[in-house]
Symmetry: C2
Amino acid sequence: MATIYEVAARAGVSPATVSRVLNGIAVSPAYADRVLAAAEELNYVPNRTAQRLRRRSSEVIALVIPDIENPFFTALARGVEDRALDAGLSVVLCNSDEQEDKESRYLQVALSEHMAGVILAPASDHPDLDAIVAMSTPVVAVDRSAHGYDLDTVVMDDVASGRTATERLYAEGHSVVACITGPATVETAQNRAEGWRQVFAQRSPGAEPDAYLVHSNYRVDGGQAAMASLRALPEPPDAVFVANNLMGVGAMQALATDDAVGIAVLGDLPFGMFPRPGASVLPLPARELGVTAADLLLQRLNGDIGPARRIVLDSAP
Amino acid sequence: MATIYEVAARAGVSPATVSRVLNGIAVSPAYADRVLAAAEELNYVPNRTAQRLRRRSSEVIALVIPDIENPFFTALARGVEDRALDAGLSVVLCNSDEQEDKESRYLQVALSEHMAGVILAPASDHPDLDAIVAMSTPVVAVDRSAHGYDLDTVVMDDVASGRTATERLYAEGHSVVACITGPATVETAQNRAEGWRQVFAQRSPGAEPDAYLVHSNYRVDGGQAAMASLRALPEPPDAVFVANNLMGVGAMQALATDDAVGIAVLGDLPFGMFPRPGASVLPLPARELGVTAADLLLQRLNGDIGPARRIVLDSAP
DNA sequence: ACCGTGGCAGAAATCGATTTCTCAGTCAAC
DNA sequence: GTTGACTGAGAAATCGATTTCTGCCACGGT
């Protein structure tokens, strides 16, 4: 692995000159040619580690998401990647698995790696960002906000989505619409359920909402289990609003061919899966979230130091 | 961001001593306590960049996969991650999108980042690994082999899988079994098709195999299109072997409710999707591939310098 | 009592690139 | 002709941690 010193020696110049040539700083053309030739011959690749140590900055951003197996988040990640790669940044993808300790471990890594920035879909409402913020590393919260910090944030209007989906089921003629949402600690899960609760209170005024609200884990197995528990109720609902795509898949599996129960799922089903007949699927702007978050981060990296912004995307694109 | 010098100053010792304490090298207890206290108070986190530069090694491995949206590869990635995290390594996930230029870009990054090792599912048969190999960075090929290099490799017996799946369709009574496989440049696609070809030649002796073999892109849309083109043939097949999971989903979508056509898919369907009635799905040991590849890499990182190994996993776990 | 040994901590070199500082040489103006 | 501004390239400092080299001190043996 050639170093800048070897290139310098071969070109008969000082390392400083090599550095200047490679960084586009004015140097007489004769020298520049010699340097470039030497670099070429030695197959020189700058050592990023040394570069980063000296420059005290890196060209890598961390993207921390709670579930790498959920296409919603991989689509979001794609959005981030596309923008970041265009800007010459690399993205390292970190999977927190909805676990706070894994999340803080990755944040710790981002810190000690001196990464240029972080885009975070927090696993908990109150992630510990003190250290990162103290370094003034720019952080953007995406999909879920990070309470306790004044961060750039990109989210959707989850309450409205919950209302819309629930409203649609009532409009189809169902009389009791239940709700399967995510972990009670996750903001999107709370908000989507809140949307449902508003409509439920209005449309099923006698009923007890808590009996028809199930918190689960945002994954396929959780959706399946939640649907099973709802059907086991003494007075089962005749429709259900499912607050994310994977639980939607699970719920539809649990319903199998029983099409007496109406279902509305928030978030595109993976891989263009066909929903069961009669089910409705409300798309979410996953990729758009990623793109927008990356844009905000890039602005910060370019020196923007205005106040934190909060962008709420239309949840029904 | 505190440095080791500040910790040293606060503890009233030299930076060398701080380093020794933090790395578990014998130091008198009195000093050790002072250092640990100072580090605690200053919230000291070692600068990985400096560490890496000095140690000339990193604790990060790159995992390069061709499609982050394919659950087969995310499962594989999970396997790698689990093993790597246990061993104290971080994994950065790189998505080559089946494109050679993106792949070599990420390999370039791995190189200049001096990553500890690379696990690669090559997008092309002949990836350019000269530079990486020259650095003697350990590389493990997974799922697909890297021709032209003598690398540790973990693959499955794709030819056998192709045979098994095709055989099963003929055993079910179908008379002409077509094959939808991946890009002609991808080894697994070639091998799975080869398995099909062997059985096809034997069971449909008169027919022209090339008419019933479609190369597509290993994604849902490709499976859909391929199936449509097969059905448009003058003498359409009455069954089809689909060589990966996502194309299987697409093919089943294209068939919709037409259950005259038999189908066998290689690789678990995403998210526990139910195959259409009568379809068979042959699972693949995706996670196991990742785990095994990580194990091989870890052995190399621990100094194993034996000859390259080639591990062929049972494709039907 | 003196010399050799070993342990422990500090000083300094090191990793590889960037950047500031320094200095030699050029050219123009007075 | 001399001075001063300017250009361009090399020397050296720097980033923050690790590690080798040094040297001090205490202890033990003769």
